[in-house]
Symmetry: C2
Subunit: 185 residues, 2 copies
């Protein structure tokens, strides 16, 4: 028997800039009821982009919830019904001032399935060309290049806290080792 839950009623508790919070009454598989709190989010894209010297492009930015600067893959929210690839190419260009000749989807992830419906699509990009940076009004970040092999070591050493960045780097590493992508050098 598959596990399932059924929505009985729901209310929108908050509707804001980047998320909407819903509070639903649901019927459980044992016939009891409970409340599920769900953060609704439009989804996002992150990009594992490597240059001609096999450097990975990372962005350093302040993350208010953790009150600290961290290193992450370039990433951003999907605008409306924008496709993941269009969003990814736009965010790569806006944040790192790069276009990419090759742009392939390598995965997707659910950030926090217990209480949020966000999906982040992960792309691998190479064949980078120059463009210009265009940050959002409330976005401040610095691009940092790290040799791809070093980025893998940083993940293993616990120096990259962000989930999408850990997953994206390790996933790309496995696919590169398996021969799916060239290692630029």
């Amino acid at each position: 028997m598959p596990h399932t839950e059924k929505k009985l009623a729901g209310e929108t508790v908050y509707s804001g800039k980047i998320l909407r919070l819903e509070r639903d009454q649901v019927l459980l598989e044992n016939g009891h009821q409970t409340v599920r709190e769900v953060v609704r989010h439009n989804g996002a894209v992150c990009i594992v982009a490597v240059d001609e010297k096999d450097n990975l492009l990372l962005v350093r930015q302040y993350r208010y919830p953790y009150a600290q600067e961290i290193l992450e893959l370039p990433a951003g929210k999907r605008d409306g019904d924008e496709t993941p690839e269009t969003c990814g190419r736009r965010e790569l260009e806006e944040e790192t001032a790069c276009t990419a000749a090759h742009f392939e989807k390598i995965g997707a992830l659910y950030t926090t399935p217990a209480f949020c419906d966000e999906t982040i699509h992960i792309f691998y990009a190479w064949g980078l060309g120059p463009s210009s940076q265009h940050l959002d009004d409330d976005e401040f970040l610095t691009v940092e290049k790290v040799p791809f092999a070093q980025a893998v070591k940083m993940v293993l050493a616990g120096e990259i806290p962000d989930a999408k960045t850990q997953t994206g780097i390790l996933l790309a590493h496995q696919l590169r080792e398996g021969g799916r992508f060239p290692k630029q050098s």
Copy 2:
């Protein structure tokens, strides 16, 4: 110059069962102001546990935000100020009915640093022994065992959507390949 933001004022928009939503007015580094929406969460732990045949223990459960059943690492929220290890051992036992002779932290991740402060600690466990399952009142799940090598393939094939599960499996795989942990077989 490090990037930073300063809280000017804040309100709690919602305080619920598993999360609290705050809406803060913040000062940006260019002197302008913006609003940051932050989901405050007590943090969680997930466990990469392998048995004596090198099977990985996964749990299949319905995730209401995505309206689907998915496979995940055993995991759960920290109760109050419970340590990550105590939480991890408790969740492993409650969800999979297993104790572990060896329980080592291999990483941690920030789930969604743009709008949430949740940290998930990741442990690797082996030397499993039997106990009994104790699920929460609103928790329904089925334990599934998958050979560890197959779990890695499932991540690469996009069959494991959950972020902590992808990261935990790939991280453990790299550490096992590097000789940090024995491969049970």
